[in-house]
Symmetry: C2
DNA sequence: CAAAAGCAAGAGCACTGCTCTCGTTGTTGG
DNA sequence: CCAACAACGAGAGCAGTGCTCTTGCTTTTG
């Protein structure tokens, strides 16, 4: 499957990785707007035209970085979920652990976060390659709530009439086994989570929220309630 | 105060507005990344160097557009608040009217929305000139809750210990007259609102949320509850 | 072992932001 | 009133960008 056939293919993998690494360095230093293919090539000691053997355009390079970033934050969320689920943590604690992992990831890589949850830079619609990796964090949040549903049950208000069909579609498509009432609040919580993180990362909380950690914990705890998670002792 | 002194000053105002209008057109057509000072000048029939008499750099032009956009969405929120407060609408209805006005504004001007609530494009920290206009939507949300507090009172859970001091600072700085318990949920709701809208505008809800209006209404109604607004009949 | 395919490099095109200079035009103080 | 001054528009020019094409070279493959 992933057997490397020869020196040429091996070199291609290494050069591709080197280009992405250097691009990430420039991303962290100057932001996505100033990321330049020529500068990447210059730093790598190769001609700018050679980079086009690996990425057909600057936007394709950015798309590759976007996919990697989605995978990275998704992996962070999944790791936090695994760690929390392996221990004695209750469902609320798992919810908090996952959301905090996403926030920590964002705080550590603000420019990569901006790349995936800020304005879509290249075109206006996200490339098809990004849709899979983009859903990983959402799937982890679903898993936390699904676990809680199986063991302790969920506390949820009834659905509004004009959302019933939508909610049924949502659970059959993304969260089989979950009651329809859980879907809209869960997806809303997913979006709200990134609202909280985006405002913090993009500076909207400057001089507004100072106790960031405590504020975030309280906000996601309240969100856990809205998705039906029963309050438990271990936070 | 705003008396126009002569033909020169009058012309300056008109040209400045024309440049911003043309820039907004390009923003809507191609996005902030491809906004070009030269193209703006070309479209206006002037030399590119002449534009620099009006905006010292491309980033300054973008900053002007950002300030205008903040003012525009703030004005939309304020207008919705005025209209709702003038009628017989209850506090929940006002909350929904304001949030819906913001969402409608964003749906009508996705690129301008991306300019202010997407990744900060120019540098990494927002210019000082943007902080005032940026707070207008938040102030409207505060006003809705403050009105409800005065007339019907708020239903709020007690504060966590490590958020008490922060909450007191928040109300004294931004919402005098509001109980401290209201501040953290209110600011969180402000951020969550833009999380919901951003996910819709930036395509994250593609194939996930179909009944957008109903979904948004339910989400902001739930948010109204978390900021202490009493549920009332007229929605 | 020769043909084919992948690769790096350089030149070049059209574009960008931005600066500088040089005439021109509107404003204003003596 | 008109001369000095400041604002202005246009053009040339610099350095940088994304991207393409051509030219040789190297690795893979039939």
């Amino acid at each position: 499957m992933s057997t490397v056939r020869g020196a040429r293919e091996r070199a291609r993998i290494e050069v591709t990785a080197a280009i992405k690494d250097e691009a990430r360095k420039q991303l962290a230093a100057e932001g996505a707007a100033k990321l330049s293919l020529r500068a990447v090539a210059r730093e790598l000691g190769m001609a700018s035209s050679a980079v086009y053997r690996y990425f057909p355009s600057r936007d394709e390079l950015l798309t590759a970085l976007i996919v990697d970033a989605y995978d990275s934050v998704g992996e962070a969320a999944e790791a936090a979920h695994r760690a929390a689920a392996a221990g004695t943590a209750g469902h609320l604690a798992r919810w908090i652990a996952v959301t905090r992992a996403v926030r920590d990831w964002a705080l550590a890589r603000p420019h990569e976060y901006a790349l995936i949850y800020g304005s879509p830079v290249p075109g206006y619609t996200a490339p098809q390659a990004t849709v899979g990796p983009a859903s990983r964090v959402g799937l982890v949040l679903i898993a936390v709530v699904a676990d809680a549903h199986r063991t302790d049950g969920l506390a949820l208000p009834p659905l509004a009439d004009d959302l019933r069909a939508e909610a049924v579609r949502m659970v059959t498509e993304f969260a089989p086994g979950l009651p329809p009432e859980a879907a809209p609040p869960l997806i809303a919580a997913w979006a709200k989570l990134f609202g909280l993180i985006s405002f913090e990362i993009f500076g909207q909380f400057h001089r507004v929220v100072e106790a960031r950690e405590a504020f975030f914990r309280e906000a996601v705890t309240e969100m856990a309630r809205t998705v039906g998670l029963p309050a438990d002792e271990k936070g």
